[in-house]
Amino acid sequence: MTMALAELVKQIAEITESAVPQSFEEDAPVPGLDMLESQNDEECYFIGLIGGKDVGKSALVNALVGQEITQRIGYGKGTETVIAYVHQSRQAEVAQKLEKIAPGQYTIITHDQADLTRQALLDLPDIDSIHEEHVKLTGQMLRHMLFPLWLQSVEKYADAKPRQLLQKVAEGNVPENFLFCLNKADQLLAREGQEQLEKLRQDYAARIQSLLKLKAPPRVWMISALQPEVLDLPQLRRVLAKQKSVPNVRQARQAAMRQRHLNVVRWADGLNLPGRLARLEELKRRAEQVFDQSLGAELLNRRIPDLLEDPAHRARLVDAAMDQRMMRWPMIGAVQMLLRLPLSLPLRLVFQARRRGVAGSKALVKQHLALGDMADCLKGAIVQLQQKDISIYNLYGQSRMGGEFCAAQAAQLQTQLSEAMELHKEQLLGHLLKRDRLIYALGRWLLTWGAAAWFMLLQPVMEVMLRDSWRAAARHIPLLVVQAISVPVLLSNLVFVAIWLVVLWVAVRWRVHKRVDRLVCRQGGSIKQPAAQAPLRAVVENWLAGLQAPIEQARRHMACLVEQVEALRQATAESQK
C-alpha cells in the first residue's frame, strides 16, 4: 500500500505533467509513509519539541522531566543536537533509529519510569535561526515524529517561519496529534492579568485555526517553563507523564495516514482527473466518429468492394484455380501452357492489370489503396482530431502531425489486407479443389486420352469393321493403320484433337469461372455484403480500432487512476467515520 500510494502519486504527476504534492517531495517534513505503515506496536514513538530560537524548548523538556537533562542557553547556537529522553530498556533501539536519521547528532538520556517505555521525548534545535543545519536536522526528525509539540513564545507566536513549517507538516499529519504550547505566559500574566492571557490564547488558537482550516480552535497550552507549578504546565506534565496506549498510537498513525491520503485526494481533485478522463472519453468518441467517417466509410463502402470487384483479382483466382485443375487433366495442361501466353495480352488490356493479368495480392492492394493516399486520409483524420484537442499530438508519437505514424499505419493496413486476401485465396482454392472422385478421373481420361484414341484410331477402324465384311476389314485395317500415320491424316487428326482439347479447356475454364463466381459472391453472404468481404472488413475494422489504441490506452490509464483516487477517497471517508 505504501508503494501503491507513492506510485499512484508518481503516475498522476507524470500523466498530468504536474509536480507531486509537497508532502511527497524528497525531504518534506511530514511523517514518512514507512513509519505510518509500520505494524510494530512496540516501537517507540517520538514526541518532539518544535519551536524557534530561545522559545524555551530545553527549559520545557527539563520542566517536563523534572530534572536538568539539557542545557538551557539563550544565546549562541543553543541546542545543536537531538536530545532524547527514553526508557533505559529502549536505549539501543532509539540509538539505532537516530543513528540512521541523524548520524552522530544525538544524545540519549535514559530514565526508568516503567509507564514511559514506548515514549521518547526529544529536544530539538531551533527552526528559525541563522544556523541552517539546525533547520535541516529538525526537518529530518519530523519525518519520523508522529507527535510534534509546537512550542512558541508570547513574543514569537505570529512569526512566519514556524507557521510555514506547521502548514507543511499538517499536510501529512492531523492536528489531533499536535500539541500547541505558548511559553513564557507568565511574563504576560504578571503584566496584564488573566483576562488578557485568555485573549492571547484565543488569538494564537484563531491563527492556527485559520491556517489549518479547522472547525474549532485547537487547545493551546499556556505555560511557563521556568515556573512548572503555574498555568497549564502541571496538566501538560500529567498528559505527557503517561505513555499513550497502543490503540491510541495506532489510531494516531491511521489518522496521519488518512491525512496523507486526504492530501493526495485533494491534490488529485485540484488536477481535475475526472475532467481529464471525460475529455479523453470525448476524444475517443470523436476519434471513433472521425475515423469511421473519413476512413471507415471510404474503406468499407468503396475501396474494399472495388478491390474485390477488380476483374484482375477475379482473373487471379480463376487462373490459380485453373492451374490446380489442369494438373488433374491429362493433355489439357499442355493447352493451358500454350494458351497462357497469347491470352495474357488481351487479359492485360481488359483488366488493366499491371503484371501479366494475375497481379500479386500486394500489388492489387497497392493499386487500390495507395500508400500516400491512405496516409493523407489518416493524416486528415488526425488533424481533425487535433483541432478538438491538441494533446493528441502527444498521444500519437511526438512527430509533427503524426506523419510517420500515418505512413506506418497505412503500410500496416496494406500488409494486413494483402495477407488477408492471400489467405482468402487459399481458402477458396481449397474449397474449389476439395472433391475428386474416381469417376471424375475416369471421365477425364475418357475425354482426353479416350477421345484422342477414338478419333485417331478407334473410330476409323471401327467404321471399316462395321461397314465391310470382316474379311475385307481385315485387309483394310492395316491399310488404315498405315494411312493413319501418313502426314495429311495425322495433321488433320491432330488439328481436330487440338480443337477438341481447346473446346474442353474452354469448357473447364468456364466452369471454374462460374464456380469461383458463385463462391466469391454468393456463398453464404447476402447480396449487399458478399462473403468475400467479411475477412477484409474484419481486417479494416481491426485496423480502425488499432488507430484509437493510443487514445484508448491513455483513457484506460486515466480511468484506472480516477478509480484509485476514488477508492482512496472512499477509504478515507470510511475510516473517518
Partner: protein
C-alpha cells in the same frame, strides 16, 4: 567625487518612468528607482532625518518609540502583528519630506495610533526630544502577514537612518540579515538595540553577528527586560542611546551610498533587461517561425472539376471538330464501351444505395474533396502554429498566462471553406458565361473562313474534315500526289498547337488554382498576424526595451563611470 546630482536625479526619474510603463513584472525595480529619486531629490536640502525602527514581531518597536518620545504615540499590544502601517512622530516645526514612502501622509490627532496599511500616519507633538529627527514606527518584518513585511521593507528603503530592534529570542533571525548588509552598503546610519536583554553574553553574541554582517563597530544598545537582573553597561544604556540619537546625522558617505543603491538598481534592471531581451528574441523567433507556415502543403487543383465542362466547350470549338483528336476520342470511346460490355459480366449486382444513414455523416462525406482539403490544411496549419508556440518555453508560458486571449486569436476553420466557396462561385459564374458563348478560337477561324470564297460552305463541311482527311490518307496519292502526307501532317500540327494555346478552360483552371492558393496564404497570414499581435501583447516592444536600455545605460554611466560594452 564630483557627482552631477541633477543629471543623476533626472536619469533616475526617467528610469522610473520607463519602469512604470512596463507593468507589474518590474514593480520592485520601480519602487527602488522611486526611492533613489526621492533620496536624490533631497540631496543638499535641509530636511529632518527620517529614522525608521525595524524589527520582528514583538520586538518592541512601538514600545521603544513611545519610550523614546515619552508619550503614547504608537499603540502597543501583547497581541502580535499589531502595528499595521508606518507611524511618524514630529514636532510642529518639522516637515515629513514630500514623497516619503510614496504614500499619503495623514495627520492624526487621536493617539496612540495603530497604523494603517498604505498610508503614513503623522502625529504632530508639541515638542520632540530631537528636533532634527523624525522617528517612524513600522510593522514587523517577520510576521505571518506579507503586507506588513513589504511595508516595513519600503520604510527601510526610504529611511535616512535606521534603528534595528531585536530581542534575545530574535537576534539570530535571518529576516534581518539582508537589511544589516544594506545599511552598511548604503551608508545608512544605523543604531542597534537589543530589547528585553537578559544576559551580557546575548548582547555580545549579537555584536558578533553584526560584525559578521559588515558592521565593524556597531552602536549597540541594550534595554534590559523588566524582571531580569541585568543592567547594561553605561555605553549601552538607553541614556547613551538618547545621546547617540542627539548626535545622529547623515553619513558623510551618504552620496556614495546613493551611488551604491543606483548600482544595485542598475544591476537588477540589467538582469531584468536580459530576461526581457530573451523574451523579445523568443517572440521575434516565434513570429519568424510562424511566417514560414503560411504556404499550403499540397497543391490545389480544380481542373478535375472542370473536366466535364472542358468536354462540353470542346464540342463548340471548330479546331476540335476538325482535328484528328476527335477521331481518336471516338475510337477511345468505342473501346471503352466494348470494355465495359466485356466487364459487365464480371461485376456483381451493385447493392442498392442505402438511405438509412444520418444526415450529419452524409453531409460530411459529401463535402467536396478540395474544400475538405483546404479545411484540413488550415487546421493543420493552425495546429503546427500551436505546436511551434508550445515547443518554445516562452510560448508555452504565455499560453498558460493568457489562455483566453490566445484562443480568441484563432480564426474559425470555416473561413478556409469560405475560400473554396467564393472561388467556386466565381468559377461557376464564368462557366455560365462561357457555356453558350462561341470559343474565341472558333470565332477567329470563322471570320477567316468567311473571307474565303465559298467560306460559308466550308463552315458547313468543317465537321466532315477529319473523315475526309482519312480518306485522303487511305487513298494515298489519289488527290494531292505525294504532298498529301506533309500537307495533312502540317495541318494537324497547326491544329494541335492552336488547340493547346487557345485552351481557355485550362487557363481559367490555372488562374483559379493560383487564386485559391493566394487566398489560402492570405488566410494563413491573417492567422499568423493575429497570433503575432497576441505575442507582442505578452512582451514589451523593441522600442520599450530600447528605452529602458537607454535609461539604465544613462544611469549606469553616471554610477559606473563609463559605458559598458557588454550591453
Amino acid at each position: 567625487m564630483g557627482l552631477d546630482i541633477v543629471h543623476f536625479l533626472s536619469s533616475t526619474v526617467q528610469l522610473e518612468r520607463v519602469l512604470a510603463l512596463l507593468g507589474p513584472s518590474v514593480a520592485q525595480d520601480r519602487l527602488h528607482a522611486g526611492v533613489l529619486a526621492y533620496h536624490l531629490g533631497l540631496v543638499g536640502k535641509q530636511h529632518s532625518l527620517m529614522v525608521v525602527l525595524l524589527g520582528g514581531t514583538g520586538a518592541g518597536k512601538s514600545t521603544l518609540l513611545n519610550r523614546l518620545m515619552g508619550r503614547e504615540i504608537s499603540a502597543t499590544s501583547f497581541l502580535r502583528t499589531f502595528t499595521t502601517g508606518a507611524v511618524a512622530a514630529k514636532s510642529p516645526q518639522q516637515q515629513v519630506p514630500e514623497g516619503f514612502l510614496a504614500e499619503e501622509h495623514q495627520a492624526i490627532v487621536d493617539l496612540p495610533a495603530q497604523g494603517e496599511g498604505g498610508a503614513l500616519l503623522v502625529a504632530t507633538l508639541d515638542a520632540t526630544p530631537w528636533p532634527r529627527l523624525i522617528l517612524v514606527d513600522t510593522p514587523d518584518v517577520d510576521g505571518d502577514k506579507p503586507e506588513h513585511r513589504s511595508e516595513a521593507d519600503k520604510a527601510f528603503r526610504y529611511a535616512d537612518a535606521v534603528i534595528f530592534l531585536v530581542t534575545p529570542e530574535k537576534y539570530q533571525m535571518t529576516e534581518l540579515t539582508p537589511y544589516y548588509r544594506m545599511a552598511g552598503n548604503y551608508a545608512l546610519p544605523a543604531l542597534f538595540v537589543m530589547n528585553k536583554a537578559e544576559q551580557r553574553e546575548m548582547v555580545e553574541d549579537y555584536l558578533g553577528i553584526l560584525e559578521e554582517n559588515g558592521h565593524k563597530s556597531p552602536r549597540l544598545f541594550a534595554v534590559a527586560r523588566d524582571d531580569a537582573g541585568y543592567a547594561p553597561p553605561v555605553e549601552q544604556s538607553l541614556k547613551s542611546m538618547r545621546q547617540a540619537l542627539e548626535a545622529l546625522e547623515a553619513s558623510a558617505d551618504w552620496e556614495n551610498g546613493l551611488v551604491q543603491r543606483a548600482k544595485h538598481l542598475v544591476d537588477r534592471v540589467k538582469g531584468h533587461l536580459k530576461g526581457l531581451d530573451d523574451q523579445r528574441m523568443a517572440a521575434d523567433r516565434l513570429s519568424a517561425k510562424l511566417q514560414e507556415l503560411v504556404q499550403p502543403q499540397q497543391k490545389m487543383d480544380v481542373s478535375p472539376l472542370l473536366r466535364d465542362f472542358k468536354v462540353q466547350m470542346r464540342n463548340n470549338s471548330v479546331l476540335y471538330l476538325t482535328s484528328a483528336t476527335r477521331i481518336m476520342d471516338w475510337g477511345k470511346s468505342l473501346a471503352k464501351k466494348g470494355r465495359s460490355l466485356l466487364l459487365s459480366q464480371w461485376r456483381h449486382p451493385q447493392p442498392p444505395a442505402s438511405g438509412g444513414e444520418s444526415d450529419g455523416s452524409q453531409a460530411e462525406i459529401l463535402e467536396p474533396p478540395l474544400s475538405k482539403s483546404l479545411r484540413e490544411q488550415f487546421i493543420a496549419a493552425q495546429n503546427s502554429m500551436e505546436n511551434v508556440l508550445l515547443g518554445d518555453p516562452y510560448g508555452k508560458k504565455w499560453i498558460t498566462q493568457s489562455e483566453l486571449a490566445y484562443q480568441a486569436t484563432k480564426l474559425p476553420v470555416e473561413d478556409a471553406k469560405q475560400i473554396y466557396q467564393t472561388q467556386m462561385d466565381r468559377l461557376q459564374q464564368w462557366m455560365n458565361q462561357r457555356r453558350d458563348a462561341t470559343p474565341r478560337d472558333t470565332e477567329i477561324l470563322m471570320k477567316l473562313l468567311r473571307l474565303l470564297p465559298g467560306g460559308k460552305k466550308l463552315i458547313k463541311w468543317t465537321e466532315a474534315a477529319p473523315w475526309l482527311m482519312i480518306v485522303i490518307l487511305v487513298t494515298h496519292g489519289a488527290f494531292f500526289g505525294h504532298w498529301d502526307v506533309p500537307l495533312i501532317g502540317g495541318y494537324y500540327l497547326f491544329n494541335f498547337l492552336a488547340q493547346r494555346f487557345s485552351d481557355e478552360v485550362k487557363k481559367r483552371a490555372r488562374q483559379a488554382n493560383s487564386d485559391i492558393e493566394a487566398d489560402f496564404v492570405d488566410l494563413n497570414l491573417q492567422q499568423v498576424r493575429r497570433i503575432v499581435q497576441w505575442i507582442n501583447q505578452q512582451v514589451p516592444s523593441h522600442q520599450m526595451i530600447e528605452q529602458l536600455r537607454r535609461a539604465v545605460e544613462d544611469l549606469s554611466r553616471i554610477v559606473y563611470g563609463q559605458p559598458e560594452n557588454a550591453l
